[in-house]
Amino acid sequence: MNQEPLEELRNKINREPYGLPSSYFDKLPQRIGERVSENASEKVLVVGSWMKWVSLAASIVLIAVLWFQPFRSPTGVGSQNFEDQLYWSLYSSDVSIDAFFYNQPFDHEIMDELIMDETASFALEEEYGYDPNWDF
C-alpha cells in the first residue's frame, strides 16, 4: 500500500491545531484537584445518606419486631387476655354443644344426665359469675 501522501501529511500537520483559552493548561491541574476533592466529599455524603436510610429501616424493623412479638402482644401467649379469650371460646363452645343436643329429637332427661356435669358447671358459673382465675 502506498501511504506516502499520509506520511507527508504527518510532517505538515499542526500537532495542536485548535485554539485554547489562555493559560488553560496552567489552570487545569487546579480545577481537576478541586473536582477530585468534590468527588471525595460527594462520596462521603452518599455513604452518609446510605447509612442514614439503613439505620432508619433497621429502627423500623426493630420497633415492629418488639411491638408484635407474642409476649408483648395483648392477646399473645402468656398474657392475661389470652387466658380470658381461651376461657370464653371454650365456654361458648360448651353452650353451643348443649344447644345442639337440646334440639335433638330424643329424651331430654337422658340428655340432662349425659351432660349433667356440664350443666352443673354452667349453673355454678351462673350463680357465682365469671371467675377469671377459673382453672381449666
Partner: protein
Amino acid sequence: MEDHEILKIFQQDETRHYGFNLLVRKYQQKLYWLIRRMVIDHDETDDLVQEVFIKVWNNLDKFREDAKLYTWLYRIATNEALTHLQKKKKRFFLPIHDVNAELENKISANLDVSMDEDKIEARLQKALLRLPEKQRAVFQLRFYEDMPYEEMAEVTGTSVGALKASYHHAAKKVEEFLKSD
C-alpha cells in the same frame, strides 16, 4: 520525572495529592489533544479530561505496574471519548451523519483555514469523520501519537494483527477521501 517515581509519591498518603498533581501536569496535554481530536469541541473535551483524571484518581491504587502508566491513561481517555460520542448519538436520536455534520461544522469553526497547516488538519479531520469511531481512535493513536502497535494493543485491548489491519483500512479510506476532496 519518570512514571514509577510519580507512582511512588502518589502511593504515600502524605504526598498523594502532590503525586497526582505531577501526573496531571505530565499527561494533561497529551490526553487533552487525544480527546479533542475525537470530540472536536473544547468544552466537551475539558469535561472529559477532568472525568478521565477523576477516574485515574479513584483507580490508581488498583493500577498494576506491569503495564505502562501512559497506555493505561490512554486507555481510559480513549474509552471516555468513545463512550461520550456513542452517548451523544443515542441522547439526541441523531443518525451518525448528523453527528458527523455537527462535528464537521465544529472543525471548520475551530480551525483557521487560512493557514496551510490548519487547512491540512481540517481536511484530515473531516476525512477521519468518515471512519467508524474505533477505527478513528486506532488511526489517531498511530498517526498522531506515533504509538507502536504493541502499546496500541494495550490501549485498545485488541490484538496487534487486528490493529494493523484496522489502521491499513483507515489509512486507505482517508487517502481516498483526500484525493477526492
